[in-house]
Every structure is written in C-alpha cells, then in structure tokens.
C-alpha cells in the first residue's frame, strides 16, 4: 500500500480505536500533470484553496497562499482553471522526472493503536 505501509492484516480485530489517518496516503502518486504556482503573480485570493478537492493548497498566517502540496495533489487542474490572475500553470509530470515526489507534511505511516487526527 502506498505511503502508509499499513495493510488490513496489520490491524488487530475490533478496530474501534485502531486505524490510520489518510493523511499518510500519497494521493499525489496519481498525478500525470502538476500545477505550478508563480508566487510573484499570486494575490492570495484563496479561490484555489476553497475549491481544491484535496486540500492541497498550503496557506500561512493571515491566509496567504504558500504553495501546493504535491504529496496530495492529484493534478485535477481546477486551481489553474479558476485562478483569476493566471498564477498557476499546468505542466506534465514528465517535466519533473527524478524529482522527489514526497513533500507531505511529514505525517508518515501511523502506528497501530494511534488515534486518527
């Protein structure tokens, strides 16, 4: 299993308190194209943030857009489509070969018995 490395066989029966957060699942591996943010153009209007199905728009204090989380981004392209200032462009994933894919929040695989969240 991608990302987490936890399979159903690893979890004890009666899983009421067991389980793992999907935040350790790298859905970014699905991507065939990726959004690239031009921070110089971005006005932090947060349209992309509100419309991202995968909560992959990273924001900082005061609601400024910091970047895009490639660990989760599935490359749907909505952000580029709705950006009012053209700050996000879509490029094929093949342009980024050899680059480390993982840029998640470092949640990593959760241990059995740890509560979600």
């Amino acid at each position: 299993m991608s990302g987490g490395g936890l399979c159903w066989q690893d979890v004890l029966p009666g899983t009421v308190t067991l389980g793992a957060s999907s935040q350790s699942v790298e859905t970014g591996l699905w991507r065939s194209v990726r959004p690239v943010l031009d921070a110089g153009k971005c006005v932090s209007c947060l349209r992309c943030w509100a419309q991202c199905p995968d909560a992959s728009i990273l924001t900082g204090d005061g609601g400024s857009v910091l970047g895009i989380n490639m660990f989760f981004c599935k490359g749907c392209g909505i952000c580029a489509q709705i950006c009012p200032v053209g700050a996000i462009s879509i490029r094929p994933e093949s342009d980024f070969q050899g680059e480390a894919v993982s840029s998640g929040r470092g949640v990593g695989p959760l241990k059995v018995g740890e509560l979600v969240g």
Binding site: S21, S24, D54, I78, A80, I82
Partner: protein
C-alpha cells in the same frame, strides 16, 4: 476573496476541517470540495454520519480514515434515522450532564442515498424535528456503481440504465425536486446551492447548523467521470448550472423564500447541456434533438418563474 454573509475566507484558512487529505475521491471530484466547504461553515465540534456512497467508501478505505471527527457509516437507507438516534442520545446525555454542549450533527449522502434509498428515514428525521443538518451532495446519479439513473438524474441525461441510443434519448423523466420536498416538511431551514461560489455554500451551511432543528442543504456537484467533463472545468460547470438557472441558488428560512443568486443576463440552458458529454447525443450532427433542448429550457424557465413567485 469577498466576505459574504459573515464568511471571511482568510480567517477560514486556520479552520480545522474534519475532512482531511488523502481520501480516494477522483481527481477534481466535486463531492469532497462541497463537504470541505460545508464544514468550513461549522465552528463547533461535529459528529458526522455518512450514508453509503462515493464519499463514504473513498474516505474510509480500511484501515485509513479521512475523518478527524466521530464518524458513523450507515447504510444507504438510514443516515436520517442514524443521525436522529445519535442526536437524541446526545440530548439525553446533555440533560444528565454527561456531555459538553455545543456539538453539531451532520449527516450526508449522495443523491442515491438521499433522493431515493434514504428518503423515508430522512423524511422521518425532518418531521420529528431533530437538531441536525443533512447535506446531499447531488451528482445526479449512482456514480459510485457506474452511472445508473437516480430520481435526481435530469431528463435527457445519458445514464447506463437510461441510455441514450436509437430507442431512447437518455432519461425520459424529470428529476424530482427534493429541495421542495424537504421544504414541504416545514422545517426551519432548507437551501440549495452548488460550487459556483464558496461563500454562498459556506454561508448556507453556517445558517443551517446555527438554526435549531432540522436543516437540509442540497448541493449540486459534478461527477467528472459520468457527466463526461474535464475535471478542471468543474467550477465552470457549476457556474453554468447557476447562471442558466438549471440549478437555482436559493434558501427557505422559516418558510420565507430567498433567491440568493439572481444571474445577470440570460445564459441558455443549452450552454450548460453542451458542456457535458452526458448530453452529447442531443447535439449529434444530423440527429440533433432541438425538441429536447427546448424542452429543457422551457422546464427551467417555468421552474424559475415558480420560484420567484414563492
């Protein structure tokens, strides 16, 4: 972004959303966007009840969960009943002083689990007056199992059990109007919206949750796979649905109707239909179905007039 009806986007970025990343919904799916926006309207701790559907299966892929809130998965037919029970139990525990106050209850389902299979339990829960909010993410078909028709599928849309072909031009019947059915329960809050404007959706769920008693919010979300649209066009399609009045944006608070978005200009329904592959058979060269396109327009016009008169 604009601050509408007390919705400030910048403040919302520090909101802790109960629905987290890593779910397995399709790239560009409207359902997780709708639910994430919905939860942005809720500051209190929530208990979430999910009927079976895309959203439920893709956020609870064993042993992972995309929920950092108490989450109860129930069958297609009983999300309304289950959330009733949870809310009633909470009320009793509160009375005994066993639980803190301020917990909100949210149930969600797709149109299959809401319009069709779960309608009886939802109707019961609305009638009994439980204090909860029901959110229907409506993609107008049984998309999880392969685009079978539901009672939310609009006329002329291509569905696998109402196929467009030589014999039939897609679904022959109209979609039923569940928002009106919910409003007919005389509950305090009913609303209908889509992903055209996050502030509208967030504001509506905020009002739904803050209203004591039952509330129902019907959110139109595109299914990229079976509406046959480019995932990137999702918001564009939602805007077309709102602008063409195909999906009127309105709310009913304590029986008072309020149209929350009155589109400027006259976007023909044809534009909304033409943008989607599920209506491609209506526009096929040589066998164009002008009659059905015009029928769609006249139905939308009549519905809009009816809504304005309310």
């Amino acid at each position: 972004m604009r601050s509408v009806a007390g919705v400030n986007m910048k403040n919302l970025t520090s909101h802790r959303n109960p629905l987290v990343e890593g779910h397995r919904m399709c790239p560009g799916c409207g359902a997780p966007t709708a639910l994430r926006q919905a939860f942005m309207g809720i500051e209190n701790p929530v208990v979430v009840v999910g009927a079976t559907g895309c959203m439920e299966v893709s956020t609870t892929v064993y042993p992972y969960s995309s929920w950092r809130a108490p989450f109860l998965h129930v069958a297609f037919e009983n999300a309304g009943a289950a959330v009733s029970g949870v809310e009633a139990a909470y009320r009793v525990m509160r009375r005994r002083g066993e639980f803190r106050e301020g917990i909100k209850f949210v149930a969600f389902g797709g149109d299959g689990g809401t319009y069709d299979i779960g309608l009886q339990s939802l109707s019961g829960a609305l009638e009994r007056g439980h204090d909860f909010t029901y959110i229907c993410y409506n993609n107008q078909g049984y998309m999880n199992t392969g685009a079978q028709r539901s009672s939310a599928t609009p006329r002329s849309a291509n569905a696998t059990t109402a196929p467009a072909g030589r014999v039939t031009p897609g679904k022959l019947q109209r979609a039923k109007n569940l928002t009106e059915i919910a409003a007919a329960h005389n509950i305090p809050y009913v609303a209908q919206t889509t992903l055209h404007d996050p502030a509208d959706l967030i504001g509506k769920v905020k009002r739904a949750v803050e209203t004591p008693g039952p509330a129902f919010v019907n959110i139109l979300v595109p299914c990229n796979l079976f509406w046959k649209i480019d995932p990137a066009d999702q918001v564009k399609i939602c805007r077309l649905a709102a602008d063409s009045r195909f999906w009127p944006i309105y709310e009913v608070a304590n029986g008072e109707y309020r149209v929350s978005y009155k589109p400027k200009g006259q976007t023909p329904v044809e534009e909304f239909l033409r943008a989607q592959g599920r209506y491609a058979h209506l526009f096929k060269k040589g066998s164009e179905r002008r009659d059905l396109i015009e029928q769609a327009q006249s139905e939308v016009d009549a519905d809009w007039e009816k809504l304005l008169a309310r």
